[in-house]
Amino acid sequence: MTDTSITPTTQPGDWASDQEVRWCPGCGDYSILTAMRMLMPSLGTEPHNTVFVSGIGCAARFPYYMNSYGVHGIHGRAPAIATGLAMARPDLDVWVIGGDGDMLSIGGNHLIHALRRNVKIKVLLFNNQIYGLTKGQFSPTSEIGKVTKSSPMGSLDAPFNPLAVALGAEASFVARTHDMDRQHMMDTFRRAHEHDGAAFVEVFQNCNVFNDGAFEGITKKQNRDANLIPLAHGEPIRFGADGEFGVIDESGCARVVHTADVSTDELLTHDETKHDPSTAFMLARLARGPFEPTPIGVFRAVRRSEYAMASTRQLAAAQEKQGTADIAQLLRSRGTWYV
């Protein structure tokens, strides 16, 4: 997956801004930041052609720490800001960073619309299943029954499955990674970057202050074998220390089986390029939460018309047809008369 044709012109350190990083010590955001800084030199882009756009939240402080252009926007609106930017400047590498509250609560609508439009922005949702910056209320990904400051008797809200939301919203690129695996993050972010359209990546991120250990059931070293299902394009989906588990399709739903109990061709072969998102959806729904076998990797990566370039093509076609800008002609276009 690594594109070796690119000779880095920058070093990871070139991507670090001069601002002191101010997340809580131990926060998962640090490792994501490191992964991003380490990845950047190999992408063949430059800091000055790169923009990080964010909303509000702990995650949303991310742009301050990257030595690129950046917009720290307002709560929930980053996908919309980024859409305008990406349309005006299809030449830029635009990343959107936000938390589960930022992009699934107040900003849910902008997210799903950006995804369906397939505008070339790379959306990383740092899912810590909590509102960090406002000090610990439940978020749209918190589990039912979660006791927080705003849900002292337990939250009543069924959580979103971010990947299911994205797939339901026509996302052409959908992936998941987690803050405990730098290489996997880098690979996944690279794939998002390479995708010609809107890319959505859920990053399981630990908030050690308000929701510590939310993803331990799958990301902790000793749980990974049993619960992390790495997706690899073209490969049958199997996992476990010795590949003893696999995933099959059962009338449209994914189910975990012992590989011993089924023949290999009964196992689902992962195909991220399928145009119909249903299989990806099925995989996204395999786990009911990060406490049972959960796939990570690229769920879907399909080509469809990228929005900003399509818009550019319309401008070109219009110029072809109507001629380029001519103010005098514009002012006369509804007919004139002389006095």
């Binding site: 801004s17 601002q19 430059e46 800091p47 000055h48 052609n49 790169t50 923009v51 990080f52 756009v53 509000i56 742009p63 301050y64 030595n67 690129s68 252009y69 950046g70 917009v71 720290h72 926007g73 307002i74 609106r77 919309a80 800001i81 980024a82 859409t83 305008g84 930017l85 990406a86 349309m87 005006a88 400047r89 030449d91 830029l92 609508n109 902008h110 619309h113 818009s311 319309q314 401008l315 076609a317 219009a318 110029q319 047809k321 109507q322 001629g323 380029t324 800008a325 103010i327 005098a328 514009l330 002012l331 006369r332 509804r334 007919g335 004139t336 008369w337 002389y338 006095v339």
Partner: protein, 626 residues
């Protein structure tokens, strides 16, 4: 049939006429009015038009709710409004009569499609008896014409189905009115040919109906005279007829050219602003990118993004949408990026009266954001001025790196007037430079970029767009340190930044007040926005009646012209007609402690010249008496 009438009817010269075409939404009244306007424009009349659309998309045929109307005023002198009351009403059915009669001037002419006055239609319009013969119309001059029947007969030979035949009756009406006001025939025949190109039958039917109408006037012995309105003494030059929304859209497109920047519009459809989105969507060849966002917040946010990327960014909306954009505009204020917000005001609160104008978003434009979020506000005063105001708003936005709000309204949006085309070469250069170089040094003496280092004159910060090597920086809505733009929670810095943002807006270069009329009068009428026409006309009438009156019309509402207080203090009375409960009044009162008197009206209908005249006259008489 020739261009000049033949039956020996007297040709009376009149100085103006105000015609209102009214019919069912499906009757093509807008088209009819538009075409009449075009011919009159070509004849050199001054003119002003105002369409009136039904609130429903397509209310049941024949009902009051379905009435669509178009008012056009043509004159041989300079006019600024479509006129208070039509002198001629063309009513295609009972509902149109019922809905519009109260507008008609006393003794005005009524041209009625009698065929439509059947029981069913009368009932739908809510008439208990037939107004044609129950005395309802006694105070008017009625001209009953069986339009449907004659149209059907006229088009019969062209093989049009009877059901479709009647659809040409608006051209019959246009023909008749063209005869009455001695308009030439050819332009309309040409128009029909162009408009319906490729649909022979339709062309033939409409042509036949139009000629039938014209001939009917000439031959039917019901009209006493026909009329002529001579050209108005307009400044010589090339004219076009624009409504405010079109002019505004063109202004935005042209501003991009004048600034040498790509134009971006993020918008969400809303009455009466949608046409700006529609019009700008047609200008892709100007490099204009339009984005129909998922809502108004996204529309504004996308404009912020585009502005960060170096576009000249716009967002267009009406009141409810502007209310939604407040938080995003506060971000734009904090980021100090150029962008222009177009608010086409409509009746409120809430959904209110979406198709009716109001001027009640001024306070929201000033204060509809949390904390101290000052931004410049401007307002056009006429349809054609919308073009200039778009360029002026863009100029301010770019020069000062600030969001600017333009307050137009549903009246300006849809009404139109002849516009003397500007000399393209005389249009201002509103371009600004992007930052490309370091503008500071760090402790080690190395060059650095300070995104909030201000221009000492304008207090504008540098605009360095992504793609510029070396100038990477981050902007955000948390309070920023002066100069570096880094997050700062320092009290002194916050006070400084609050003061700087305010000073920047206060320092926008706004021209001094222009006093129209009698500068030395006792009373000045203060106005802003679309009331200009009515106030100007009212001042004219009052002067004709021997009063002295001055008129100050503001195009810049924030900041106000530097000399405004001084100018207003010269007068014994300052009155301010506004379609709201006194918003400009309050701004001026608070700022200058001048007792500006409100002349209010908020019923969804623009001020008439008469309303302004009589309100001001009353005050003038008081002053004279006192």
């Amino acid at each position: 049939m020739t261009d000049t009438a033949s039956r020996e009817l007297p040709l009376q010269e009149i100085d103006e006429v105000i015609i209102r075409f009214a019919g069912d939404s499906g009757d093509g009244m807008q088209l009819t009015g538009d075409q009449f306007t075009s011919i009159s424009a070509a004849l050199g009349n001054d003119l002003s038009t105002l369409p009136e659309f039904p609130a429903e998309i397509r209310a049941p045929q024949g009902t009051l709710a379905g009435v669509s109307a178009f008012q056009v005023r043509i004159s041989d002198f300079d006019i600024t409004t479509p006129g208070d009351a039509p002198t001629v009403l063309v009513a295609m059915n009972p509902a149109a009569l019922k809905a519009q009669l109260h507008n008609l001037a006393q003794g005005g002419a009524l041209i009625l499609n009698t065929d439509a006055f059947n029981d069913r239609n009368l009932e739908k319009a809510g008439y208990a008896s037939n107004p044609l013969d129950d005395g309802t119309l006694d105070d008017y001059r009625s001209y009953p014409v069986p339009m449907s029947q004659i149209t059907r007969d006229a088009v019969a030979e062209h093989g049009v189905k009877p059901r479709d035949a009647e659809r040409s009756k608006n051209f019959f009406a246009l023909g008749l009115i063209s005869w009455m006001y001695t308009r030439p025939v050819e332009p309309t025949l040409e128009f029909i040919n162009t408009k319906f190109r490729g649909r022979e039958q339709v062309i033939n039917a409409n042509t036949a109906a139009f000629k039938a109408g014209y001939n009917f006037g000439e031959t039917a012995e019901i009209f006493e005279a026909h009329y002529e309105v001579k050209p108005a003494p307009l400044a010589p030059g090339e004219y076009t007829n624009v409504n405010g929304n079109t002019a505004l859209a063109w202004g935005c497109v042209v501003a991009g050219q004048l600034a040498r920047l790509p134009v971006f519009l993020g918008s969400y459809p809303i009455t009466p602003a949608s046409d700006i989105l529609h019009e700008m969507s047609l200008k892709k060849n100007f490099g204009v990118r339009t984005f129909q966002a998922e809502d108004e917040i996204a529309a504004a946010a996308s404009a912020v993004g585009a502005a960060f990327g170096g576009a000249l960014a716009f967002t267009s909306t009406s009141g409810p949408g502007l209310a939604l954009k407040g938080e995003t505009l506060s971000l734009a204020v904090s980021l100090e990026l150029p962008m222009v917000v177009l608010d086409i005001q409509r009746g409120g609160p809430s959904t209110g009266l979406p198709t009716k104008p109001e001027q009640a978003d001024l306070m929201m434009a000033m204060y509809g954001r949390h904390s101290e979020s000052p931004l410049p506000v401007v307002a056009p005063r006429s349809p054609a001025d919308c073009f200039d105001i778009a360029i002026e708003a863009s100029r301010i936005a770019l020069k000062y790196r600030t969001p600017v709000i333009v307050l137009s309204d549903g009246y300006l949006a849809n009404s139109s007037e002849p516009w003397l085309l500007p000399d393209v070469d005389e249009l201002p250069d509103i371009g600004v430079e992007f930052a490309t170089e370091f503008n500071g040094t760090n402790e080690d003496g190395d060059g650095i970029f300070l995104p909030y280092l201000r221009d000492p004159d304008t207090l504008a910060r540098p605009w360095a767009i992504p793609g510029t090597p070396g100038l990477m920086h981050r902007v955000g809505g948390i309070e920023k340190e002066d100069g570096t733009g880094n997050i700062s929670y320092e009290p002194e810095n916050h006070q400084l930044m609050i003061d700087l943002r305010q000073a920047k807006v206060d320092g926008v270069d706004v021209p001094d007040v222009e006093v129209a009329g009698d500068a030395h009068a006792d009373l000045v009428i203060l106005g802003w926005g679309s009331t200009w026409g009515a106030i100007d006309a009212a001042a004219g009438r009052l002067r004709e009646d021997g009063f002295e009156v001055a008129h100050v019309h503001l195009r810049h509402l924030n900041p106000l012209p530097a000399d405004l207080g001084e100018v207003l203090r010269r007068y014994r009375a300052v009155v301010c007609p506004e379609m709201n409960k006194g918003q400009l009044c309050d701004l001026v009162r608070a700022k200058y402690l001048i007792d500006v008197e409100h002349i209010g009206k908020i019923d969804g209908v623009p001020f008439t010249t008469g309303e302004v005249t009589s309100a001001v006259r009353k005050r003038l008489e008081e002053l004279a008496g006192s």
